[in-house]
């Protein structure tokens, strides 16, 4: 073999200068030393959808806790005269230049509301005379008559004589930012209060599922043998039962209410968790450190709590994160068919089903609860996916 010599080596070029070699350079670990959990956190922080989801969830939880306290309205106070107001008011100017006044026509319930310059609703315009025969309502505003004619749809606001009408500015409803519902309650506060209930149901139900699933799966996996066989057969039977039906049955038995919903959802969906924990424990319990702990006389409870469960926390965490959105889903589903929390309490499900009742006239009322549920689903799904990728990068697709 002939030695390869660089024939045209430009040795005077500084780029070809020999680097000085330090003896211990090979031993230096260039990247910072990180534990597994630091790695997980770093990987999660790089996942943009997951972080967006996490931030959304944190903001939502804060809003759900503190929002209702900060609002001047209460979730249960009704004001029927201010029912079904939209968040955006298309105003009309009446009274001409001297007695200029902004009014808003609610075409759904044929009422006229006063609106001030800032966009605050000052209240129902008094003195509406209802003329049922000609299908119109007449108000006295600024010395002239304003007529709302609803004999043909859509209703038309008109004035005969007087200074005339002119289209006013379109304003944000500053009194009720999200408008009001059919009983005149503030939609924003009810929305936040609904978030409180929906999230509480989801978290408590997931916690109950978590405790039952981890205990059941852990015991089954650790004890093994006949106990495992029997316990897994039971799980097999439970998992072939359509669980939504059982949540419904539980709700029928327990009667509607917040605690019933939490109990019903919490006691039913632990099967997946139990299976995952069992699978993990089965592989972990044959590890040497478990044998070592047992040799040293550690009791079962200690080995479970200190050695086995901490090592299965990854999959458990992912399963729990995925359980929360399905609990929100099921709760809203239950509330939608009338088996959820009892009024005046509100959850996103009851808010949606209330909005569906008035869909024809006030379609905007559906927007807020539907968007809230969908965004929360996005957030939890993204966070769950991100957590799974962060905990086990090999699973990433």
């Amino acid at each position: 073999m002939t030695e390869l010599t660089p024939t045209l080596a430009p040795l005077d070029d500084p780029r070809w200068a020999l680097l000085e070699r330090e003896d211990d350079a090979a031993e230096i670990i260039a990247a910072p030393v990180r534990t597994y959990w630091q790695d997980v956190r770093a990987r999660l922080a790089q996942n943009k959808p997951a972080m967006a989801g996490l931030i959304f969830i944190i903001l939502l939880v804060l809003a759900a806790i503190f929002g209702p306290m900060l609002s001047p309205h209460s979730y249960r106070a009704q004001n029927l005269s201010l029912a079904n107001l939209p968040p955006i008011l298309k105003t009309t100017e009446v009274g001409g230049a001297e007695e200029r006044q902004l009014v808003f026509v609610n075409t759904g319930n044929l009422n006229l509301y006063g609106v001030d310059e800032g966009g605050h609703v000052t209240g129902l315009l008094p003195g509406g005379r209802k003329d049922m025969i000609n299908r119109q309502t007449i108000w006295q505003v600024g010395g002239a008559e304003v007529v709302l004619d609803y004999s043909s749809l859509p209703p038309v606001l008109a004035q005969e004589g007087g200074p005339g009408l002119s289209p006013g500015p379109t304003k944000w409803n500053r009194t009720y930012l999200f408008g009001t519902d059919q009983l005149g309650r503030d939609v924003l506060v009810r929305q936040l209060y609904g978030a409180r209930i929906s999230l509480m149901v989801a978290f408590v139900a997931t916690l109950v599922n978590f405790v039952i699933g981890v205990t059941y799966g852990g015991l089954s996996g650790y004890l093994g043998g006949k106990v495992d066989l029997v316990m897994m057969r039971i799980v097999e039977i439970i998992s072939t039962i359509p669980l939504t039906l059982y949540v419904i049955l539980m709700m029928v038995v327990l009667q509607s209410g917040l605690i019933s919903v939490m109990l019903a959802i919490g006691t039913v969906f632990w099967v997946d968790m139990a299976r995952i924990v069992r699978g993990q424990i089965l592989t972990l319990k044959s590890q040497d450190y478990v044998a070592a702990a047992r040799t040293m006389g550690a009791p079962t409870r200690w080995i479970m709590a200190k050695h086995l469960l901490p090592n299965t926390i990854g999959p458990i965490l992912v399963t729990a994160t995925m359980l929360i959105p399905s609990a929100i889903f099921i709760e809203s589903f239950m509330s939608f068919i009338g088996l959820g929390v009892t009024p005046p309490q509100a959850s996103w499900g009851t808010l949606t089903s209330d909005a569906v009742e008035t869909l024809r006239r006030y379609p905007h009322q559906l927007f807020f609860p539907a968007t809230a549920i969908s965004l929360t689903m996005f957030a939890f799904n993204f966070l769950g996916d991100g957590l799974r990728d962060a905990l086990d990068p090999r699973l990433r697709q």
Binding site: P242, L249, V252, S374, M377, Q397
Partner: protein
């Protein structure tokens, strides 16, 4: 079954599965029965104050004056003979009649939804996988993510408002017109369509990476043949596995959909009997649902053997 599927499906295993199904069904009946009897107050309590004699007569008529174990055995006996008993709230109507009345509607919409899930979800997933990281992939994944996050009843009401009330393209309720099927089927299949599209995509991507795909290409097989015979057939296995639960969920999802579109199906009967506290109807329909869903999962598991030659139940039986 050309690939010897029958020999890999020994009768002993099928029998074992059937026995497990019967045990589960018995558990469902028992649990349902005792749950319904744990409801505070009898079935006639909510009505206007009944005279004690009338209540006693009603109890005697429906056998509610007997001890509970006797009632349980009676109920079990009648369920075995496919008799789910009379409805408490609609005199003269039996739960069987309720189910017979609602089943065609539920089955039709449900079947169409399953078809929609498979016939749209799988091709969408395939298109996404074959165009990985190009626009079809992005489009399908965006739709799938949105579809998985929006509850079916929201999809249903929004579609109802836009297409039926605003545009008037389809009727708002009922199935008299063939166009009436569009919205319920779409709303019902939305979530699972997204799910199946995502599943098909990730499964096909995994399959495309396998060595046997390279081998097939190296042998010079046609692209279409490689995709259909080697790629798709293997990547559809997880899709088929999930079809049992999908059918189950489509049917339970129909409670809300039938309510919104006013379809006279079983789901609507079920929700109505919940609001009416019609206990025998709740019990009967629950048991019917459970039996039906278990049967579906069973059938899917059996079909699975035919699709995947690696599955061999002989070892497990």
């Amino acid at each position: 079954m050309a690939n010897g599927a029958l020999s890999r499906l020994p009768l002993a295993y099928v029998g074992q599965r059937l026995v497990l199904m019967l045990v589960t069904l018995w558990a469902v009946i028992t649990l349902t029965f005792f749950l319904m009897h744990a409801v505070p107050g009898g079935p006639f309590v909510s009505e206007k104050m009944l005279a004690p004699e009338i209540e006693a007569a009603l109890n005697a008529k429906y056998g509610l004056d007997e001890p509970i174990w006797r009632q349980y055995l009676n109920y079990l006996g009648s369920v075995i003979t496919f008799d789910l008993g009379p409805s408490f709230k609609y005199p003269g109507m039996s739960v069987n009649e309720m189910i017979a009345e609602g089943l065609p509607v539920t089955a039709q919409t449900g079947l169409l939804a399953v078809l929609c899930v498979v016939a749209l979800g799988v091709p969408l997933g395939v298109a996404a996988a074959l165009n990985r990281n190009r626009w079809p992939d992005t489009a399908v994944m965006t739709i799938a993510t949105i579809g998985a996050a929006i509850p079916s009843y929201v999809i249903a009401t929004v579609c109802l408002y836009i297409f039926a009330l605003r545009l008037g393209w389809v009727p708002a309720f009922g199935l008299d017109d063939w166009r009436g099927y569009f919205l319920p089927v779409f709303a019902l299949s939305g979530f699972w369509l997204s799910f199946i599209a995502r599943l098909t995509r990730s499964s096909l991507l995994e399959t495309l990476d396998q060595d046997y795909m390279t081998t097939a290409r190296a042998k010079g097989l046609k692209r279409r043949k490689i995709l259909l015979k080697h790629g798709l057939r293997n990547s559809l296995i997880p899709v088929v596995t999930i079809m049992g639960p999908v059918i189950a969920n489509l049917l339970t999802g129909s409670f809300v959909i039938e309510q919104i579109f006013a379809l006279p199906g079983i789901g609507r009967h079920f929700v109505l009997s919940i609001t009416n506290r019609d206990y025998t109807a709740i019990m009967g329909i629950t048991i019917f649902y459970a039996a039906f869903l278990m049967l579906m999962i069973f059938i899917v598991d059996m079909l699975y053997v035919w699709l995947d030659p690696r599955i061999d139940y002989r070892r497990r039986a």
